[in-house]
């Protein structure tokens, strides 16, 4: 009510946030570096790749790591590093499409539901619940069953599966933001709803959505890789990390693990990097809210 003693509370909040980020700041730099390397490799695959992704040399079947094959060769004698570099394209573009689509749709629905309330809110919330009932991977498999394998069906299905998460997040964030008096002040000032939402409300929830979308990138990558692994995603001979694991799994039983492990490690690295960055952003968002 009146001027409260804020000191202990304030200190608790500030000390609290020092403790939440358990893995120091240097990790964020490493994560950014890892992502930069992968993105550059994907973009300039034609330049940096030692050989073509589908250049077969049967004498090199399951070749170990050597000067000629820096990461060895696969079951068909194709250079693992080259396939990895070309495979980064599909493996990164797919999640990018999923995240872009679901973030745009989810934010639009979520903010719309929060701002309008009433029937709009009810309809959007109920539809969200229905989509929630489908685990993302299952929806994607269903889409493949309908449309057939490839990148399109899984990506479309995953956009649909991820949108409700963003919608729910942006709805509650927008509700919270809309309850703040600065939004009320803009209404009293005579601004139109559209102006308030577009110029003030949405920009203020963007950092939060950015954090979630960054995390989602990692999850989408995992889901899409799983689909490729099942043979539903990117189709051979186009290289893809999930497909590479599937193709070379048999070799593990013969004691040759690097052709399947290497793409697996790439998946883990990229996902860890996105998780780290997503949480760093979320941390900053939490910090911003302490006056």
């Amino acid at each position: 009510m009146t001027a409260a003693s804020a000191t202990p509370g304030l200190i608790r909040r500030r000390v609290g946030r020092l403790r939440t980020g358990a893995l120091g700041g240097w990790l964020n730099i490493v994560a950014l570096a890892v992502l930069t390397v992968f993105v550059l490799a994907a973009v300039f695959a034609d330049v940096v790749s030692p050989v073509g992704p589908n250049d077969v040399s049967l004498s090199d079947t399951l070749a170990p790591i050597s000067g000629e094959h820096l990461l060895g060769a696969d079951q068909s004698g194709r250079d693992t590093l080259s396939r990895l570099i070309y495979g980064a394209r599909g493996s990164l573009l797919g999640p990018l499409a999923v995240v872009a689509g679901s973030t745009l749709l989810g934010t639009a629905f979520g903010v719309w539901a929060a701002w309008r309330g009433g029937v709009v809110d009810w309809l959007i919330s109920r539809s969200t619940e229905v989509v929630f009932a489908f685990p993302g991977l299952l929806l994607a498999i269903l889409a493949v069953a309908m449309i057939g394998p490839g990148l399109t069906a899984p990506v479309v299905a995953m956009v649909i599966a991820y949108t409700p998460y963003i919608a729910r997040l942006s709805r509650s964030a927008a509700l919270q933001e809309a309850a703040k008096p600065y939004i009320a002040a803009y209404r009293v000032q005579g601004f139109s709803s559209l102006t308030i939402v577009a110029r003030h409300l949405v920009p203020n929830i963007v950092p939060l959505l950015l954090a979630q979308s960054t995390l989602n990138f990692g999850y989408a990558l995992l889901d899409l890789a799983a689909l490729s692994y099942l043979g539903f995603g990117v189709q051979p001979p186009t290289p893809d990390w999930g497909t590479m694991i599937r193709e070379n799994q048999q070799a593990v039983l013969e004691g040759v693990w690097q052709p399947s492990l290497v793409p697996g490690v790439c998946i883990v690295l990229v996902v860890v990097a996105f998780t780290t960055l997503g949480e760093a952003i979320a941390d900053r968002v939490a910090r911003r809210d302490v006056p």
Binding site: M1, T2, A3, K180, P181, Y182, A184, A185, R187, V188, Q189, G190, F191, S192, H200, P203, N204, R288, P291
Partner: protein
């Protein structure tokens, strides 16, 4: 411009938050709306500002009812120039991304679109009116102290040149030494511009410095209204007397006050039961 509120009611589920509230604020006058949390004072203020819709009643300004939703941009801006509102929490009432100058410039551009030069001039004038300097003009809300933020919030309302300002617990979140600065600023502003105030507060002592008229609310109803000094000196309603007696001062006896409170609650509705 006078504000006439008549028969205002608002229900939330089973709770009658505002119950047949009627009062008038004369042109350039200052009315204190006093009550505890849950008395309905803030809901009343928000209805008048157009942030909530009343179930019944009218909010008349210059003979026109503004209780319904605004139709079109013209009416929206017109209403904005009638009544503005300052909120309790000076941090949450500012967009965290905008500097003081940006926040003010935006409102000036809406209400007085003109050359960039004239807008800048108007922003400088507003800053000057509330006693903010160059540093504060360029600062983001989180870089300002509570008192400075509240000055920005006040300047922002003045940008629309309203005839009436609703102040909803506008000094309650501030420390005493800063509270007095803001109260004096409000008194000076009114003297200079002739603006009217609807001053919503739980604090009778504060209301005394800013208003000539006062209305005391309890459980959604106005239980007493009149000239501020009269009501403070000779409170008629038992609740007003309790409210006055609850303010600590020399020779104050909390035990006696709490006995009085229990008596009042025995006679009226008992909302504080476990």
């Amino acid at each position: 411009m006078s504000l006439q509120v008549a028969g205002l009611s608002k229900r939330y589920g089973p709770l009658l938050a505002v119950d047949d509230v009627t009062f008038t604020v004369e042109d350039g006058g200052a009315l204190g709306l006093v009550g505890e949390s849950g008395s309905g004072k803030t809901t009343t203020a928000r209805i008048i500002a157009g942030l909530e819709r009343a179930d019944a009643g009218t909010v008349m300004v210059d003979g026109a009812d503004r209780a319904g939703p605004a139709r079109g941009r013209g009416q929206r801006l017109n209403r904005a120039r009638q009544i503005q509102m300052v909120f309790q929490d000076p941090y949450l009432s500012l967009d965290p991304r905008l500097t003081t100058t940006e926040a003010l410039g935006e409102i000036v551009a809406l209400h007085e679109p003109g050359s960039r030069h004239s807008r800048r001039h108007r922003v400088a004038e507003l800053l000057d009116q509330v006693g903010l300097g160059q540093r504060e003009a360029a600062a983001l809300p989180r870089q300002l102290s509570g008192g400075q933020r509240q000055r920005v919030a006040i300047a922002r309302t003045l940008a629309a040149r309203p005839r009436l300002l609703i102040l909803d617990e506008a000094v309650a979140a501030l420390d005493v030494s800063i509270q007095a600065q803001i109260l004096n600023l409000l008194i000076d502003l009114r003297r200079q511009t002739g603006i009217g105030y609807l001053f919503v507060s739980h604090d009778l002592a504060v209301v005394r410095y800013v208003t000539e008229q006062v209305a005391v609310m309890h459980s959604g109803r106005i239980v007493e209204q009149g000239a501020t000094h009269e009501v403070l000196a000779r409170p008629q309603h038992a609740y007003t007397r309790l409210l006055l007696a609850s303010v600590p001062r020399r020779g104050w006896d909390p035990a006696a006050v709490s006995r009085a409170r229990r008596d009042l609650h025995d006679t009226t509705s008992d909302k504080e039961t476990v």
